[in-house]
Every structure is written in C-alpha cells, then in structure tokens.
C-alpha cells in the first residue's frame, strides 16, 4: 500500500490527474495515454512512474503493448483521509452551532 505522501503527490500535477481521469474510464495502452500530452515520452513515463509509486496505477505488458489500469485503493485512501478531516471540521461547526443556539436561547428576552 502506497503512503499518503506519494498518493497525494501523484495528484499534484495536471498530466497525472489527466491520466487518472482517462483510466477511470477503463484500461489504456501507454501510447494511448501519452498521445494527448505534448511532452517527450521519457517525461511522460516519469509521470507514470510517480503514479505507480503512489499506487494509482498498475501496468502489464502483453507482447509489445504495456497496458495501464487504475488501482482504486489509492483513491479510497485519499478520500478516506479527506473525509476524516471533514467529519472533524463538521463536528466542530455543529458544536459551534449548538453553542450559538444556546447563547441565543439564554439571552432571549422575547420568550413567554
């Protein structure tokens, strides 16, 4: 399992995010993945290596064709971490809401 450093580092580049978005639609050969990107193949392959190190993709070679597949665990780990922070954040806002509502109730002068 890749660590969160390399998982998030995988996402910090537009070429790598485009590769992930393309592979979410299904596996693709390296040549097909590289085609839309205006860069030399070695540079593109470096991005694929970063994605592999981050656990985002896996690749298999059949004959002379290397095919890449998205690995869902990286996305799950990234979403899980973000979801944890959001739940802490939202719990805090809920407590703040409750606190403010209590302040309003306590301070209300228009009650019966």
């Amino acid at each position: 399992m890749a660590n969160l450093d390399s998982i998030f580092h995988g996402l910090a580049d537009p070429t790598r995010r485009a590769v992930i978005a393309r592979l979410a639609a299904g596996p693709a050969a390296v040549s097909e993945l590289a085609a839309p990107h205006d860069m030399a193949l070695p540079s593109f392959l470096k991005h694929l290596k970063v994605l592999e190190a981050g656990g985002w993709i896996r690749s298999d070679k059949a004959g002379r064709i290397r095919t890449c597949r998205l690995q869902p665990d990286a996305a799950r780990a990234a979403e899980f971490w973000l979801g944890q922070q959001r739940s802490h954040w939202e719990a805090r806002l809920d407590r703040l809401d409750t606190f403010l509502a209590q302040m309003t109730d306590d301070g209300g002068t228009d009650g019966p």
Copy 2:
C-alpha cells in the same frame, strides 16, 4: 481559488497533513501548531506557506500572535475531483457488471 496542483501538493507531506488535521478541530496559533513538530521554525513556516498557497489555511495576526484557520474550499475541491473520478470508475464497473450478467444470461443452458 487555489488550483488542484497546489491543493494536492499541500497534502503530500505528513507535517502539512498534521497541521490540517489539527486545524480541523479549530483555529490555532502558529506556535501551538509548530510545537509537536521536531523541526526549526523556518522549515515549519515553509510548510504553512505551502498550505496557504494551496488555499488550505488562512492566517491573521492580532498583536504578536498569528492565528491559522482551515479554509474548507480546498478540501471541497479535492473531494470533488476524487468523487468525479470515482463516479466514472463506478459507472464503468456497473456497465461491466451488466455486460457480464448479459453474457451469463445469453450463455445459460440450465434455464427452462
């Protein structure tokens, strides 16, 4: 609005993720944020700068105390992007399931 490159770059480091996790529980002074991290203050401040550039935090100075707050938009953008990829990925798996179910139906020999 910070771009996705800098949003995800903000997450690609354990110190920065720890700062985000701490701030999800509420605002904190820079000195309090820095305390658990075994690094020189200038190095820690660089991490805060990366988080500010990624739109993760905002800071305000009152007297000699600089207080940092989490900005929820960065997390929302990150979760939105990941959610989009997941929905594409899941839609593809659903189509694959349907396809496989049809293959099984078509090829079934034990039906009435």
